[in-house]
Symmetry: C2
Subunit: 444 residues, 2 copies
């Protein structure tokens, strides 16, 4: 990989997400060589991906070049690489661009979508963990409406205008709210020759509440907000199948839809060599001790979503959110410096700064450790916090301008099909009620 060996210890970080970047920043000023590997050349601000999918923000304003974040630090190396395996015995990483020795290794690979083994759903549904995936969803949503214009079958048209979101965590709830606002504010203007009142947004949740990780008040209020926006909220219902057309569930409920968005779960993004049974715990996350050390190794660590700290009565580890990753990254940075200075390690303690989610304009819910509030003020707090954590002054300015514009104009202008998305199995079969469809379509 053409990275010179120096007398400094070499720390290799896999992943430039919240955790990896926080760690790299902590170490970059010290006498340590930091090598960061990522399969993208940019850091993604995942909490705003849903706004990219729904045309509210440009993709480029929630992504930031990793080289730029750390360009001031002479001891920092970035390589665009897919890590294929870890050979922990030889202390070597195998990647698509060659091998790399490490002195200390940090897994900060994050998480990926968990389909819980359902291959059919995996093949036919949309996900939203990366910028390209968010852009695919944006294209598909817009393509659906263009296609809905062309059909005489009311069933097909309804399926094209029906959006089913599985999972009522923050991602699902925020996406549902954004789609509902598009239905209300944009579709009637953009598609005057389509009866867009028939568009449906459904959110399906296996548990008995939306935003389950938040307070009961936040959960109730979020559900109210969704229903006020016209979203159909289905609880205690587990989606079990989707063939590209029909969604089936554990109850009587089923949907015909061209778009299923799967936001029902994530699991650790593991790497060969550290993904055996001995290493993994709940949701394929790598078990770590209170110093983020991977079992059996003193020089291998895992932080953020991929790590599961099972000590101190935390049966399922910390929540898989940005704050944990950022705090673990910074803490591990301190601990590594302690190792270099032969000092004892300090255990990680999570400071819960709160949780929040936005459902629509003036509609958000915020749980802080001491205060819980919902509505307009919560919405402003949500925006302020997200702007604050976004990396880069230019990105903040551009996002801010877009938000002000979208707020004042009730608009989302990035509704562009830059790269059309082809569904692998994009068939929407009209069902037996096709007759009704044909009859009604004469009046349309």
């Amino acid at each position: 990989m053409n990275i010179p060996r120096t007398s400094d210890p070499r720390v290799v970080i896999i992943g430039g997400g919240f955790g990896g970047i926080a760690l790299a920043k902590k170490l970059a000023k010290q006498e340590v060589q930091v090598v960061l590997l990522d399969k993208h050349n940019y850091h993604t601000f995942q909490p705003l991906l849903y706004q990219v999918s729904t045309g509210g923000l440009e993709p480029d304003s929630i992504a930031y070049p990793i080289r730029k974040i750390l360009s001031k630090y002479p001891n920092f190396y970035f390589r665009l690489a897919h890590v294929e395996a870890v050979d922990a015995e030889k202390e070597v990483l195998k990647t698509n661009i060659g091998e790399l020795k490490y002195d200390y290794l940090v897994l900060a690979t994050g998480s990926r979508t968990n389909f819980f083994g359902n291959k059919e759903i995996e093949a036919n549904s949309m996900i939203m963990k990366t910028v390209p995936e968010a852009l695919n969803l944006r294209s598909l949503i817009l393509e659906n409406f263009e296609q809905a214009l062309l059909t005489d079958s009311l069933d097909e048209r309804d399926a094209l205008m029906n959006f089913v979101i599985v999972g009522a965590g923050p991602t699902g709830v925020e996406l549902a709210g954004a789609l509902a606002e598009i239905k209300k504010g944009i579709l009637p203007k953009d598609y005057p020759d389509l009866d867009t009142r028939r568009a449906q947004i459904n959110i399906v949740q296996s548990g008995d509440a939306v935003l389950k990780g938040m307070s009961a008040k936040a959960s109730e209020k979020a559900e109210d907000f969704l229903e006020n926006l016209g979203v159909n909220v289905w609880k205690n219902t587990r989606v079990v199948g989707y063939d590209g057309d029909l969604v089936t569930t554990t109850t009587d409920l089923s949907f015909r839809t061209a778009t299923l968005i799967w936001a029902a779960g994530v699991k650790g993004e593991t790497i060969d060599g550290l993904n055996g049974k001995d290493f993994l715990t709940f949701s394929d996350r790598v078990a770590v001790n209170e110093f983020n050390q991977v079992k059996g190794f003193e020089n291998i660590f895992a932080i953020g979503d991929v790590a599961c700290m099972v000590t101190k009565g935390l049966l399922h580890g910390h929540p898989m959110v940005a704050q944990v990753a950022i705090q673990q990254g910074a803490h591990l940075g301190d601990n590594l410096l302690r190792i270099f200075e032969k000092e004892p390690l300090t255990p990680f303690e999570y400071k819960d700064k709160g949780t929040m989610a936005t459902i629509g304009r003036n509609k958000a819910v915020v749980d802080l450790p001491r205060f819980k509030f919902q509505g307009v003020f919560a919405w402003f707090v949500w925006m302020f916090v997200h702007l604050f954590f976004l990396i880069g002054f230019r990105n903040r300015m551009v996002v801010f301008i877009n938000w002000v514009y979208n707020y004042v104009r009730f608009d989302r202008e990035a509704r562009l099909i830059i790269r059309p998305y082809k569904k692998p199995k994009a068939k929407v079969i009209p069902i037996e009620s096709a007759k009704i469809g044909n009859k009604k379509s004469e009046n349309i």
Copy 2:
């Protein structure tokens, strides 16, 4: 296509570029049904595509949803469609989404890259006529530098850092200037472990001047600007071959490069049924009379790049620029209204408002009908004019913010490989001097 027939005449416009949009806006308030077809759902502001390629602007801020431009007009229909052929006898268009009858047909299809029959260059070079193409070029430029880090061969590394632009019209000149600024301001910071001083920007031109359509003063000054920025300007040299690695020319000059950008010519984007010998003239443009009527038809028109008005001593028609398209679109709008009111048509007269090109910060050339000037003031005029013609308040704001930021910080932050670009034939073979390469690389 599910477009209702009304008693109003139906005008079908193919293409939502400058000409098609200008025409649609003129007609949309009148008693006429306007159907606009485009293969994208957005209008592209092509003059700024080179800034997307070079990371200065987000793609979404130079594109604008066509539906939104015309959403206020009830008699306007948009369809996302590829037009496959015109059956002029039956007055029917064939498209990928079905057939469409027209009363009046307007070709506003613009132009596409002209490789003058050279299939090898077509297969291996990059072009920049659409947003996806501009994004592919952005990805490739960034990928080249990532790859250059990995090789021990100096030849390969030089080829990866060598950019050859063919054609010194506005597109080529503006792109060359932007690449030179990236080399100077961004590469040394982003790639401290790469000797980016070895990066080369070459612009090759078959004629004896850059910006040939402009005044001699503008042409000379633009060449000075390019040379000051470190661009190698090659004149009187025609590129004849490129196999993905070696560029050959009509002179002794040759280059080893991983990136050839072809900006050497365009031709009319024609449509089956109206592209026979009888219809086409220079550069495959459709011959039209002074009313933009296509030969042999009273109800078929062509405007903008695809049209060539050969009357009044204009041997090669008007220049293929946005201003001509906009003026012809608006003029044809007036003429169509005259047709509906059975009044005589008026001939098109082009009002040349001037030409301009920017080479870099504080470096632009402007030829107005009465004044010609170059340098800082020209650069501000260039920016003002481009902001003015950009569609949409939000786009203008975002572009303005980016320009101010890039100017103050000497930066371009959209250097993101969102969708990696795979060259169809991405081989860079080290040549016989590989020995020298290996020797030198030891010192790097």
